[in-house]
Symmetry: C2
Subunit: 368 residues, 2 copies
């Protein structure tokens, strides 16, 4: 039986279905991470700032969620994550905005850059190029350029590290040893996630096999909402499956009830646990597990490695992103192409041309 399962995810089979070799790009994550740690990032001079906006969409926007989770317990400035065309009404010149768009052509994020300029915010931009870079050069906005040519989700370590460095060099956060330790954790974990590593020792393969054929129900906690959200996104993009993503304690007030019915529905729960969870979180996980197992399903628990809160967040993302690639293989679908997103971008590209003709500052903002 074990042999049979292992043969579902052999290096040969993986290479055959993962035609664009996204798994090879993911294998380079530790390398990307340390490269980015040595990068020269550009940041604005910050004088009076009392809040931070991290703006971006999809694989770029998740960086904001991760940074918010990481710093939530610390005494720093409040962080707002914006995944929208517009800045919230309260944003003014005392706001520090980091606009992150891997392609540099994300319609929403270009809108945010535009509004941040109008409102005279302290602004930094991160992209691999595109209009965001052009605009930044033209308008003297500090821009950090990262390596291009990756699917945005595969560029996560570059996007994350550069954003963290921009915040640190602006003296808005104090990363300490967390970044270096996280890179080391990714390096060690990466060895376990490779196609060559057999299923029994490969946590990503195990999650993929667990989820195959089921609707994934991903539960995390208030410590790692960003991980749960990212895993949902990776399941959507790589494995082309819907997924339910929720965090406790909130899910104990609603999603949990859904397990009482639909006992025949093929659904499987994955819990994202963290070593060192506070007792109230541990207690809730235990209770939820007991209740789910009392209805229709076993529960699979993932315990990502890492010493710091940040390294656990990042190693969980690494492990689960790889799981979404292996799930794509099990489903016989190439993880790289995202047909619908490409189609959407082509359609919106027509609209975006107005931004190419910018001559004035501020640009014409999207209407509201």
């Amino acid at each position: 039986m074990r042999k049979e399962v292992d043969e579902m995810l052999t290096p040969e089979k993986i290479s055959k279905i993962d035609k664009s070799c996204i798994h090879l790009k993911y294998l380079k994550w530790p390398e990307y991470f340390f490269e980015a740690l040595r990068a020269d990032v550009n940041f604005p001079e910050v004088t009076e700032v009392d809040r931070i906006i991290l703006a971006g969409m999809g694989g770029s926007g998740i960086v904001g969620d991760v940074i918010r989770d990481w710093l939530a317990p610390s005494r720093g400035l409040p962080i707002h994550v914006v995944k929208d065309y517009h800045l919230p009404g309260f944003v003014d010149k005392e706001t520090f905005v980091v606009a992150i768009s891997y392609s540099g052509n994300t319609e929403e994020t270009l809108g945010i850059i535009n509004e941040a300029i109008s409102r005279r915010c302290a602004l930094a931009v991160i992209s691999s190029g595109g209009l965001a870079e052009e605009l930044s050069l033209k308008l003297n906005i500090p821009h950090t350029k990262i390596m291009s040519g990756l699917p945005p989700r595969a560029a996560f370590p570059l996007l994350f590290v550069c954003t963290a460095l921009v915040m640190q060099k602006s003296e808005l956060i104090e990363a300490g040893e967390d970044l270096y330790e996280s890179g080391e954790t990714l390096k060690q974990l990466g060895n376990l996630l490779t196609p060559e590593m057999e299923t029994e020792k490969n946590p990503s393969k195990r999650v993929a096999i667990w989820l195959h054929g089921a609707l994934p129900i991903i539960y995390g906690s208030c410590l790692n909402g960003s991980v749960v959200l990212r895993f949902k996104g990776s399941l959507n993009e790589n494995a082309k499956t819907h997924a339910v993503a929720d965090v406790l304690p909130e899910l104990c007030h609603n999603d949990l009830v859904a397990w009482d019915l639909d006992l025949e529905l093929p659904r499987k729960a994955v819990f994202v646990r963290f070593v060192g969870e506070p007792p109230e979180v541990r207690e809730r996980f235990d209770a939820v597990k007991e209740q789910i197992e009392g209805t229709s399903s076993e529960v699979y628990e993932v315990w990502p490695p890492g010493e710091s809160h940040l390294s656990r967040i990042l190693s969980a993302i690494y492990l689960l992103d790889f799981a979404s690639i292996y799930l794509a293989v099990l489903r016989g679908v190439d993880p790289t192409p995202t047909k619908s997103i490409d189609k959407m971008k082509r359609r919106l590209g027509v609209k975006l041309r107005y931004l190419e003709t910018y001559t004035d500052l501020p640009l014409k903002p999207p209407s509201r």
Copy 2:
């Protein structure tokens, strides 16, 4: 055919399955709304406040999301919604905290009250009684008491209006005519949602019939994320089904891809649209609809009535909550009982006893 469909949701059938008559409580929403508008609310004296925290869980916590959506475009103070045991690290005495717990015994919200006291925040508490009330009376915290005896989700108008009034009387927000107009909209809409109203004219019955037998995929926009989240919660609690809830533009970067595969999966999309959406939102909805319809499913669009942004948010919640009750009827399950939540509460009740023995200020906080 129409007659056949109508007969699935007759007043008789509804009353037979909705044994605890939650639909009668929902029919009273306009009444609750105007009653609450006349309520005496209690609020702290606010001097130097630069941010607002709205804290609560489930049917109480959604109030924060609604208020944030409502006020997002306005120039007021930043609002943070907290659904957790703990306040974020940045919270200090310049923070205004409203703690909302319908029962007054919600573990998480009691933890928040406790931390807000320790950090010397401006604090207001809203509950129908419970420990939150006891504690408030004992410690001279402004407490607003609302009618008890409802399932928390059915008490939404009471919770929402009282929270808005607390914020308004503290001069933190300017509600203007929005509240009154919203009450009027709910009153008119209520007439269409009753069990007696035939399916063709009853938007809630139509949504329920649309979703019956499928996994609900609920898509809204950056204007109404709170509505989408609330509908997910109501589907969980009333209809006992999982659901995927997402908002655009973000969903265009991930969830959309999932429609490309699983063409045989019984899933149905509901879009929550708003009259007067800005063009970039309308454009995205059109594009997403086109793509979904190009794969596996038609799309059902809900256009809630209302003149103001707030009244559209509230009427959407009313319409969709009723839909979740009708879906429960179609699924043959009593919408009121939430077995898992009750079981969870009993389990946690043992732990909560420590709060009953409070003698000192601050209380012993949950660990982190």
